[in-house]
């Protein structure tokens, strides 16, 4: 049964999902763009952000502290991972980078499963943001509206860091040509570490923000990772605006298709990706040769 109210709330669902996908994909895409490493553990990082937040929420009961914990924990994990493992893979083939990050993702998922079991965990939305809000035509869960706002702020912060700071300028230059940046006397490897940390933090932040919407399981990152890939392929690898645009498109496709038949959500998403690959092989906002 099609109703405008239903359609409207699905569009809003799409916006919330799209914003989250945009944030996660931005993390993935700036890591890839700068370091040249496709991080297959990105979905697992998203999942770990949720669990880190869950632990802190369980202990303190504060949602804000939980969000901070999810983000900061993943920043630390990202930096450590880059120092210990990833940096040894910059000069190895792409295939090895994929293999090692894939292995890391399995270690992360299975470690979480061992500690927290496969049973789902819940982090409730903070009291201030729980309940429903009237949007005129329909009622809508307040927290989902808040998610759009929270993620929009996070994306703006990321935008500010990337486009308005010296670090951001170095990162964007690194995406274009990291060897050149290195020869200009900038310690590219320190920048790499920071970028990997920020990318991981974006995933972790999204993970805990998403936790009140979907209950946490160790496998929650896998589906997100696949959707993130589609977003990046649609938007164009290494492009921050592309990740945002791709995220919103993917979120709407999933939500609106789900309204008609959830079974076809992935098929439509995939069809959109195929269409982009045929018409614009380098993604909507991608640059030729950046792969």
């Amino acid at each position: 049964m099609f109703t405008w109210a239903n359609f409207f709330s699905q569009v809003f669902n799409g916006l919330a999902l799209g914003a989250l996908l945009a944030l996660i994909s931005s993390g993935l895409t700036i890591i890839y763009g700068t370091l040249g490493v496709l991080n297959l553990a990105h979905g697992a990082m998203f999942m770990m952000g949720g669990y880190a937040g869950y632990v802190v929420f369980d202990a303190t009961g504060s949602f804000i502290l939980a969000v901070a914990a999810g983000a900061l924990f993943l920043l630390v994990v990202g930096v450590l991972l880059e120092r210990i493992v990833i940096r040894h893979f910059y000069h190895r083939p792409h295939e090895d980078q994929l293999l090692v990050t894939f292995g890391i993702s399995i270690v992360m998922v299975e470690a979480v499963r061992l500690i927290f079991s496969s049973l789902s965990k819940n982090v409730p939305a903070p009291p201030l943001l729980s309940g429903i809000t009237s949007l005129g035509i329909t009622f809508y869960p307040t927290y989902r509206i808040a998610v759009v706002g929270i993620v929009a702020v996070a994306l703006l912060v990321l935008y500010f860091v990337l486009y308005r700071t010296k670090l951001g300028m170095i990162v964007r230059a690194g995406i274009e040509d990291s060897e050149m940046v290195d020869s200009l006397g900038i310690d590219v490897h320190r920048v790499f570490m920071v970028v990997f940390g920020i990318g991981a933090m974006a995933a972790g932040f999204a993970g805990i923000v998403n936790a009140p919407i979907v209950s946490l399981t160790p496998d929650v990152g896998e589906a997100i990772l696949v959707q993130t890939f589609v977003v990046v392929v649609i938007g164009g690898v290494g492009s921050f605006p592309g990740a945002v645009l791709g995220g919103l498109i993917a979120g709407e496709i999933i939500s609106i298709t789900s309204m008609i038949d959830p079974a076809y959500a992935y098929i439509m998403l995939f069809a959109a990706m195929t269409l982009v690959l045929v018409l614009r092989p380098y993604g909507l906002l991608g640059v030729r040769g950046r792969e």
Binding site: V107, V226, Y264, Y266, L277, P281, E291
Partner: protein, 606 residues
Amino acid sequence: MPPRRYLAELLTALGLLIAPFVLPYLGFAPNTVNRILVWGLFGIGFDLLFGYTGLLSFGQAAFYGTGGMVAAWLLTRADFPSVWLALVIGMVAAAAVGWLVGLIALRRTGIYFAMITVAIGEVFYFVEFNPLADWTGGENGLPGVPTPSLHLGFTTIHFTTGWALYPFLAACYFIGIVIALRIVHSPVGAVLSAIRDNPLRAAAVGHDIHSYKLTAFVVAAAYAGLAGGLLGVLQAFMPPEAFIFDTSGQLVMQTAIGGPGTLFGPLLGAAVWLSLQDFLQAALDLGAAWKLVLGVVFVLLVCFLRHGLVGGLIDLYRLVSRRSTAEAEAPEEATPIHAAVASMPARRREGDLTAGTVLEAKGLTKRYGGLVANGDIDFTVKVGELRGIIGPNGAGKSTFFKMLTCEVPPSAGTIVFEGQDITGKGVTEVCQLGLTKSYQVNQLFTRLTVRQNLTIAALADLRGRFRLLDLFRSLEKIPGLQDRVQHTLGLVGLTARADVAVSALAYGEKRRLEIGLALATSPSLLLLDEPLAGMSPRERVETVQLLKSIARGRTMIVIDHDMDSLFELVEWITVLQEGKVLAEGTPDQIKTDPAVREAYLGGVHA
């Protein structure tokens, strides 16, 4: 080396025959051995795709599931009478699906390819689970898959479960490995490894790499489809889990553990994986933590053992037998270049072109944004000519060459080669027409030997841009190939180094091989982009002699910065400056041309 020809096949057969008598004593349950065989067969196809062609797919579960579901559906729902035929149909269906998916996924390479295959794999999982649930049984899968039997007239052998099923699976694996070995040793296999090592050069010597990649993708899908069908037979049940991402992931990990690019690596990897799983779960009572342990083992392995277990064993073997190879690899101080070798004839064209024009470029222009790299160049080369191009750095020489070989499309202008307009064609097509170049920076197939490098280039000319009919044919049986390779080896003075890996060559030798790659395609017009770059003075003298011998009966254009060598070598010189033709003439005319002097010495600007 005929005695060793079927060694791998023989050893495989022997191993498969004695396995049921040995493995039980090592604690292997028959069901585990059967599962290892199915994963091993699945992995052969994946190894052809990943280990040999360099395409890392994370979506193989799609084809595994498709083949399995088609076979299982035929046997359980459609009352199909023959298990054998159902398996074959499942395999063909998986291959067909692989072809369609390959058309999309292979539009991109590298990490894009990996991401697309992940996404495609997930789509198959969802399609199987929901829209096609009536056919596939949804989350229940398809139970009741029968096992095959063999009617021999006087008796019937039933392959049921455990060791009774083993001979059937072992036979399937054996056939799979025999076919894969033939593919690897065929011309197609040679091209696949060329694509893995250097796709750019593989295309530039005239191979249609997209079609070859698609071939590898379809072959891998066919193997996956057959393995999927066997999974249903093995379990008497086709599980929907065959489609999940973990299946693809496990295949990738098993192959990486065993050693990619070895064909047998996946089998070894599966043996390690499944026996460790049994061991950790049962003996150590780790429960679900087994996967964590295997994950850690896998990460360590990728970090420290780069070519998997088989690769590690090979490295160990080389380490032990280093003394014998050290002799063979002793660097030769001076590899004599046989300038006297009869020059290899350039390919003969239809009609008499001896007096005509080989190449004519008109108004050739290349703009990069506002920068004009080449502006309005007119350029003509006659048959048999040996032309030199000089110009200061940034004069647009390399851009000019790239346009002539169709690596980059011109912004304006036309290029006519042997009477045919080649403007806008691809580099592969142009090479097939007989125009190719050697690169300024070496573009070799670095993991292969000198002979294999030249073989790949020669194959492009002898077989055309794409050919599948000799997929199972030995390289040795390609008419004219050995002669062509041997001749080219002699021409570039690398006969004594033929079986040395490219990575072990000295720089000067690599430069000569670079020229050899272009030569082996038997071009009627050969472009050489700075063939002398980075060479020692003695190497330069030798290489000039080499180029002179090559030039007999061939049309060549040479770019170089070494004026003295170039003046000695060529008959006619074109000088480029700031993307335009500054002067043309004989070496003597150019030497004294005031405009050229000014361009090089700076003239009034100095």
